[in-house]
């Protein structure tokens, strides 16, 4: 199951709740304002790094670029829209709105 996060982690509880319910190996994709979760130096770095040990982590590059985020965590794989489509093709989607 693919989990998507599109909210800033500073505004809502989508990220923390998602992590509580996610199963090992489920991919997680940060997009739209969810991107702010994967910027290096913020308070969520440790959570994301720990998560990356059990789950593949992706972030949508057009949304990263649009927000001027230069320093994305190394554990995060950046993908474009084709990569997004590929993930959706291969997984049921769970959107943590």
């Amino acid at each position: 199951m693919l989990h998507t996060i599109n909210q800033s982690p500073f505004r809502g509880d989508s990220l923390t709740s998602c992590i509580r319910f996610i199963q090992a190996d489920d991919p997680i994709l940060f997009m739209e304002d969810g991107i702010y979760a994967v910027q290096h130096g913020n308070k969520f770095n440790e959570i994301i790094s720990n998560l990356s040990k059990t789950n593949p982590i992706y972030a949508l590059s057009p949304d990263i670029k649009a927000r001027g985020i230069q320093n994305v965590l190394a554990e995060v794989k950046q993908i474009d829209y084709d990569g997004f489509v590929e993930l959706v093709e291969n997984h049921q989607v769970n959107s943590w709105l």
Binding site: D13, R20, I22, V93, N94, L97
Partner: protein, 126 residues
């Protein structure tokens, strides 16, 4: 997903994550639950985070002049929507227990709800 009498039946889980009356999400979510139940789909509802407040006893929306949905929750049984799961941590964080809720539910650990989520054909957050 399975087939019964030529009809495709999918497992739907609705995830209620927001407090009830501040937004339209819970109301709209319940509408979706009833519609998909009418199409004989296999429905479950998970109440997590502020979603657990939707099930509190003694909600009275009369002065807000909105219909409320306590009656709808009580009627879900009649639509064969019987799988209501509540996240224990969300209840405890809010100082609530099963006795505070208007309907019979199954209180589960987050990990158990997570496993149920993973089995669904469709998961919709409200």
């Amino acid at each position: 997903m399975r087939e019964e009498d030529g009809e495709i039946i999918k497992d739907f889980m609705y995830v209620m994550r927001r407090a009830p009356h501040g937004t339209i999400y819970t109301y709209e979510g319940l509408e979706m639950v009833l519609i998909s139940a009418a199409f004989d789909q296999d429905i479950s509802i998970a109440f997590i985070d502020d979603g657990v407040y939707s099930l509190l006893k003694d909600q009275d929306t009369e002065d807000l002049q909105i219909k409320g949905f306590v009656k709808t929750f009580k009627a879900l049984d009649g639509y064969d929507v019987e799988k209501l799961y509540v996240d224990r941590q969300s209840l405890e964080e809010r100082g609530l227990s099963e006795d505070d809720l208007i309907v019979d539910v199954e209180v589960l650990e987050s990990a158990e709800i997570g496993k149920l989520m993973a089995k669904q054909d469709v998961v919709i957050h409200n």
